[in-house]
Every structure is written in C-alpha cells, then in structure tokens.
C-alpha cells in the first residue's frame, strides 16, 4: 500500500513537472504578435484607451537617494507622467542593483521567464534572438518610433540599426550615445601639480615622473605616505575597454595603451590588410611591459584588481591621476569636491604618442537595447515609452527622482552632443551668444537648461576652469553637467583626435561558445603580467593559447563579417 502511495506521488510529481513545460511551450507557440496588429493608426505618442500594463526588468541603484519622500521606483514623477500621457502602467517583473542586473537578465533568459520588456547588452541580445525569445519589432519601429528618435538613430550612419537587425528583422530598439563616452581622458589633480610645481604629463615618461612625484613627495601635505600616483581598475572595471564594451571604462589604463598604439580588446586591420585582435599584437606587449614597470615602482595603485571601488580613493583624496570618460563629475568627482573644495580635478587629452599626437580608441555609439518578450500583446508600448522619454526628459527634475528611475531608459544623444554643449556653454560665457540662441535644438535635450543655468555656477573669470572659479554648491546637479562639458569634454573639442575604431563591435558565432574563456585567459594573464606575478614572456604563451583555443577561428569569422 505504502509503496503504491509513494509511486503514485512520484508519478504525479514527474508528470506535473513535465506537463508544465509543455503548457508554457504551447503558450509561446500559439500567440503570434505580428498577426494581431492594431486596427487604429500608428501614433508614436498615442494614448491607450484602456490602461495597459508593462512588466519590465529594471536596474535600481540602492544608493540612489534622489527620490522625494513617498515616491518609489514604480511611483515617481516619470512613471506618473507615463501613466497620464500614454495610459501605460509600469510594473516590475524584477529589479536588481547595477552590479546584479546582468545576472538577473541571464537568469531570466535561462529560465525563459522574460519580463515584457527590458534593457539588455549586445551579448544578451544575440542570445535572445537565437533562442527566439523576443518579438520582431520591425513594424513597431517603422510605425511607432518618433521622428526625433529616428533622426538620432540614423545619425550613427546606420550602425545602430545594423546592430539590431537579424535576418532583415529589427529585433530590438538600439540606443545612441554621445561618442564622447568612448574616449578615456587623463583626469589629474591640478592642485597637486601646482603644489609640486609640475606640468600635466605630455608623454609617457612625463606620466611616470608625475606619478612618482605624486607618490613620493606627499602632494596632499598630510605628512603621510598614503598617496596613489595612478589609480587602476577595481573589481567591476576593466584594464581597458574592449569591442563589446567600448564605452565608459573607469580607471582603466586605456590612455597608456593607446599612447603606445596598442589597442587591446579591439579588432584592427593590420598593415597587410589582415584582421587582427589587438590584444595579441607586440604593441600590447610593450604597453604591458610599461605598466609592469610602473607597478613595480609603486606608481600604480598597488591594489588594482582587488579593490572593490577605486572611486573611494578619488573621493577621499588619495589618488592623483586616473583615466576615465568626460562624465566623471557624474561619478566620484562630485563627492570629491563636496569632500574637499580644493580637489581641482582637470581633464586632459593626454598622454600623447611618440609623434606628439593624441590617439585614443573610439567607441561604437550603440551599446544598449530594449527588447520585448515574444508574446507580449503591446510591443509598441515600449517604443512609446522611449519616444515619451526623449521628448520630455529635460522637463524632469533629477533631484527628485533621477534618470535611474525612468523605466526602460536608453540614452538618446546625437553623437556630438557633448561637443556641441561645450561650445555652446563657452559662447554663452564669453557673451558672444545668448542662451536664447540655443533654445531651438530639441535633439540636444538638455542644452536649454545647460545654457540657462551656467551663470549660477560658473564664477569669473569665465575662461578659467580651476575648481575655485566654480560654485558647485549653488546647484550641484547643474555643476555636474557643466563641469563634465567644460572640463571633461573640453579636451575632445580642443584637441585633434586621431582615434582608432574597432572594425566590429559585436559578437560572431564561435565567440558565443569560446569568447568567455579566451577573455578569461586574456584578463588574467595581463593583470598578472602588470602585477609582476607572471613574467612578461607569459604574453607569448597567451598569444599561442589564444590562437589555439578558438582565436584563429574567430578571427576568420570576424574577417567574414567585415568582408560582407
């Protein structure tokens, strides 16, 4: 009897487990979203007659305290705006902190339990397409994308759409970032330079000298041996940006690599026209050797690769130099200045290469994508939310609920947004133009508020960008923006940039299986070479391993993709 009960139970359990799988499969198959196209005319800003809901996966930063009292990530100025203007109710399928978001997305993909819509990166996008988990958005994009978004996406010269087109179908909505995100400037404590009577480092040798002075000559004058010459990447950042993540690498050594014409992580066209992977070239070995010397002399943060957050040492005033994009004031610099009003962080298009030219790597402008679950009834809702955001983002006050809380937010910026902003602010400060002259440029969505507020925070003389001629406390939000433009972006406007692009910014077939392991040997070997736990010749072994373990095949595939 007992035996029978157990077997019955076992049978039921197994049966239900299997039949559930079947049921969910049927569901995905019998609903084809393209068949029930709405009968009403397509309107990018059309209001739904009945409230519809969209359950999204959202990144929520627990340290973001900008929400005003009583508001939540699901109920704030922007979600209410979406509700009123579009009659879309936003719900959460999941939320995750920035460091866990990718993992949550992976889990959602693995369990085939996708939110109605979410933001993903290029690797996940490809995976979703191949698993046939997301909706074909070709019609949605054609019919519902607002003219402004289409204009910005087209400004990338077709790259953005190319990245989301699979077999002729648009499978996701791409973003478009300012190209300034991809250049990693040298940020340096000008007050330390002045204290020690030094000039900003023009060449790599200068860089070493300055770092040495910063480490040994107690630039902060506290009598302690606690200063870091050049900060390095923490556990969540990379030694250098790569072709899959080409933007916004903080504290990496991008500047040093590119000054030596090494572009690790990028696919390049070699002298003979053959495609090569930058990490395997002799220039990269040379750059590693340079970094290895710097590290052994104590000029680089000794705790690179182990540190949880390199930004902390910037805020606490222990770091003298680091490489980062123009928007570092949005990162640790705001806190650094609040902490110490004398922390005069300035940004330079340095160091230069042997010919005295600035040769940084450049990024793709498309890095993030909004995807929609395959059988979601209102795929156009995601598009409408994006239209609405671009049209209205400048009206929202970031200090009572910042962009981090805007559902499905993709960055939409014309590629030259920051450069245009920098020039506009300079002209307004110099008095050659009035703020009103810049009011009629809707694609540059924050420009109007930038020019309107610049006089609140910038003190005279207007052409001196040292921190003492600013008043950050007058309006910290606007200061962040203006400092990013006038200090962070200025080098990109004022310097002739001989940048280098990767020939591709997306994955090929074999990469899906092999890239993770190739990247792993690359990262580990390079970090160990720099930190001196492996000899420099480990590089040659790496190149050999890399080629044998799939690199050769991938290189051929890349060549095929480029040839097409």
């Amino acid at each position: 009897m007992l035996k029978k009960i157990f077997f019955l139970l076992l049978f039921i359990l197994l049966f239900t487990a299997c039949s559930n799988e079947d049921a969910s499969k049927d569901e995905t198959e019998d609903k084809d979203p393209s068949s029930d196209t709405p009968s009403e005319p397509a309107d990018p800003f059309g209001v739904y007659e009945e409230t519809i809901t969209i359950a999204i996966g959202q990144e929520v930063d627990p340290s973001d305290t900008s929400l005003q009292d009583g508001d939540t990530p699901l109920d704030n100025q922007y979600t209410r705006h979406v509700k009123e203007n579009l009659n879309i109710e936003v719900e959460h399928a999941f939320t995750a902190s920035p460091s866990n978001y990718d993992q949550k997305v992976s889990l959602a993909i693995a369990s085939n339990d996708l939110p109605d819509a979410m933001v993903v990166g290029p690797v996940e996008l490809r995976q979703l397409v191949e698993a046939d988990q997301i909706a074909d958005l070709t019609d949605v994009y054609e019919n519902y994308a607002s003219p402004a978004i289409k204009e910005i996406i087209d400004s990338s010269g077709g790259v953005a759409l190319e990245n989301v087109t699979f077999d002729g179908k648009i499978m996701a909505i791409p973003n478009s970032q300012a190209s300034a995100d991809g250049v990693h400037n040298l940020w340096i404590r000008q007050d330390w330079l002045d204290e020690l009577g030094l000039e900003p480092p023009k060449t790599l040798d200068d860089l070493k000298k300055v770092a040495k002075a910063f480490v040994e000559e107690d630039p902060d004058g506290n009598g302690q041996d606690d200063t870091i010459g050049l900060a390095g990447p923490d556990t969540s950042n990379k030694l250098y940006a790569n072709f899959l993540e080409s933007t916004n690498n903080l504290y990496g050594f991008d500047g040093i690599f590119s000054a030596l014409h090494a572009y690790p992580g990028y696919w390049l066209e070699g002298e003979d026209g053959e495609l090569v992977y930058g990490s395997t070239l002799p220039e990269t070995k040379e750059a590693l050797s340079f970094l290895r010397d710097m590290y052994s002399e104590g000029l680089i943060d000794p705790e690179i690769g182990v540190r949880e957050d390199s930004g902390e040492s910037v805020i606490s005033g222990n770091t003298g130099m680091f490489f980062g994009p123009f928007w570092m004031p949005y990162g640790p610099l705001t806190d650094a200045v609040t902490n110490n009003p004398d922390a005069n962080w300035q940004s330079y298009a340095l160091p230069l290469d042997a010919n005295g030219e600035y040769t940084p790597h450049l990024s793709t402008t498309t890095t993030q994508f909004v995807v929609v679950r395959k059988d979601y009834e209102h795929p156009e809702a995601a598009m409408k939310i994006l239209n609405n955001l671009l049209a209205n983002e400048s009206e929202f006050d970031p200090s009572i609920g910042g962009p981090g809380f805007y559902p499905l937010r993709l960055v939409y910026a014309p590629a030259d947004e920051m450069e245009v902003t920098t020039v506009a602010l300079r002209e307004v400060l110099a008095g050659t133009k009035e703020p009103e002259d810049f009011y009629d440029m809707p694609a540059y969505k924050l420009l109007k508020s930038d020019v309107d507020h610049i006089h609140e925070i910038k003190l005279e003389p207007y052409d001196n960008m040292d921190i003492e001629y600013w008043d950050p406390q007058a309006n910290l939000g606007q200061w962040t923006r203006a400092y990013s433009a006038l200090v962070g972006t200025a080098p990109l406007v004022d310097t002739e940039i001989n940048g280098v692009k990767s020939v591709i910014y997306s994955q090929t077939k074999t990469m899906e299986d092999r890239w993770v392991n190739l990247k792993k040997i690359e990262d580990e070997t390079f970090l160990k070479i720099i930190m001196g736990t492996e000899s420099l010749d480990a590089f040659d072994q790496f190149v050999e391993d890399w080629n044998n373990q799939g690199g050769e095949q991938i290189t051929e595939e890349v060549a095929d993709v480029v040839a097409k």
Binding site: F6, E21, D102, V123, D132, V516
Partner: protein
Amino acid sequence: MRTKGFAKHYYLMLLPGFIWLILFSIVPMFGIVIAFQNYNPGLGVFGSEFVGLETFRYMFELNDTMNVFFNTIYIAIMKIVGNLIVPLVFALMLNEVRYMGLKRSIQTIVYLPHFLSWVILGGVLLDIFAYGGPINQLLAMFGIDPVLFFGRADLFPFLVVGSDVWKEFGFNTIIYLAALTGINPALYEAASIDGASRLRLLWHVTLPGIRTTAVLLAVLSLGNVLNAGFDQIFNLYNPLVYSSGDIIDTWVYRAGLLNLQYELATAVGLLKSVAGFMLISLSYYLAYRFTNYRIF
C-alpha cells in the same frame, strides 16, 4: 497488529522529507541532459539539439578544467587535515585546563566565529589583510614590505584553509571534548597508580579513547572532498587568484550563471557529482570498516 499500525504512522512522517527529496534532488537530475546538448534556453531541454559528448571534449581541452579540479581537491584535503588536527590538539590542551571557568570561556570564544557567515567574515578578512590593513602595518614594524595577500595566487589556498580552520576549529573542538568526557575516569586512576606521567596518560588513555570519534569524523569528511566551500571562496576571491583559488562550484557558477555557458557548467557539475558519489560510497564503506558505523 497494533504495533504494526503504529509503524505506518511513523512511516508517514517520512513523507515531507521524501517529497522534498524528490522535488529538489530527483527532479533536477533531469537537467543533466543539458550537458549533452547544444542548449538553448528558448527551445528548452526538449527542443535543443543533442551533440553527444562534444561538450565534454571541449571541457577537457580547456586548461581551466583540470586546474579547477586540482584546486578543489587540494583545498579540500588541506581543509580536512586542518580541521581534524587543530581541533583535536586544541581539545587535548583544553582538557588539561583544570580551572572550569577559564575552560568554558575559552571554549565560548573560539567557537563564536562559527556563527558568522562568510559574507561578513569575508569582508572582515579582506580588510584585515588589505594593503593598508592591520596585518601589513604589523609587518611594516618589522621592516617587511606590504603584501597584497588576497591578490597573491600562491598564498590564496593557504589563506582560505587557514581562515576556514580558524572559523571552525572551536566548533569541532566541542565534539572532541564530548568524546573526552566519555572516557572512564577509572582508567586514568588505574594508570596513575601504575605510575604513568601526564604525557603517558594522554598517549595511552586519552588518545585511544577518542580514536573512533576522530576516525569517524575523518572518514565522513571524505564525502566533502569535492565541496571545498563555495561561500567562503566566492566571498574572498578575485581574478588574480582564479588560477589557484577557483573551485568547481565557483567555476560552475561563473560559467553557467554569469557567462551563460550552460552546457559546460552542467558537464563539469555532472563530473563533480559522479566523483562525489564515488567518494561518498568509499567513505561510507570505510566508516563501516573502521568504526562499524552504518545507516542501512
């Protein structure tokens, strides 16, 4: 007849455990097929294409795999040895302490870390061993250059084993102390009368008295050889020490969950399970041989 009726009810009490076992241990075994497929989550296990042993071939091609297996066994064996010897020695020493108050306080203090999770202890350890942390400040007093402890692949396994032994030895000590109280005091008296010194007592009375406990603990821990402690290593490691610190579980976590290589992660996990099954069978047999300990 009446007692038989009773027994049925007792068997029914097994039911919740049985259901749990089926749900969480038997049903998931179904997922093993992923290792033999070119798995695609959208198509599921029913739709994905079977590729036979392709994944296993690739697995043995990777330098990682052998390395990870080696690390797992290396770290686990060191942990087993450390967790056997340190508490045993400590229990013997503590047993010689005659002042009960002191004995109890020492016991309490050393077994406190057992109750802290690795999430907390990991953070504490990373701070203590940081570049500017207390340990390095201490070294500086002796003129030794600071060491980046958790960035050194050669030191990492020892730090892992050391911190694990430090966390657990107090708790294991209690087991030995309990075994020590089980020794008949008459044996000590008799030996003393025969003129045995304290060292002799230890050698000829105490140690034989707790031999079975020690052997049992050692043999049972064999089954854990392939579990070198995910929590601990996950909270302490970083890319610099992957080469010597990555164990099967952390590697599978990264490959499967972070990097979406489901087939590979499943294949390695399966290999671990097979090896683990053999080790548990072996340890069960040895436990029976040496200490007559058996369940069935």
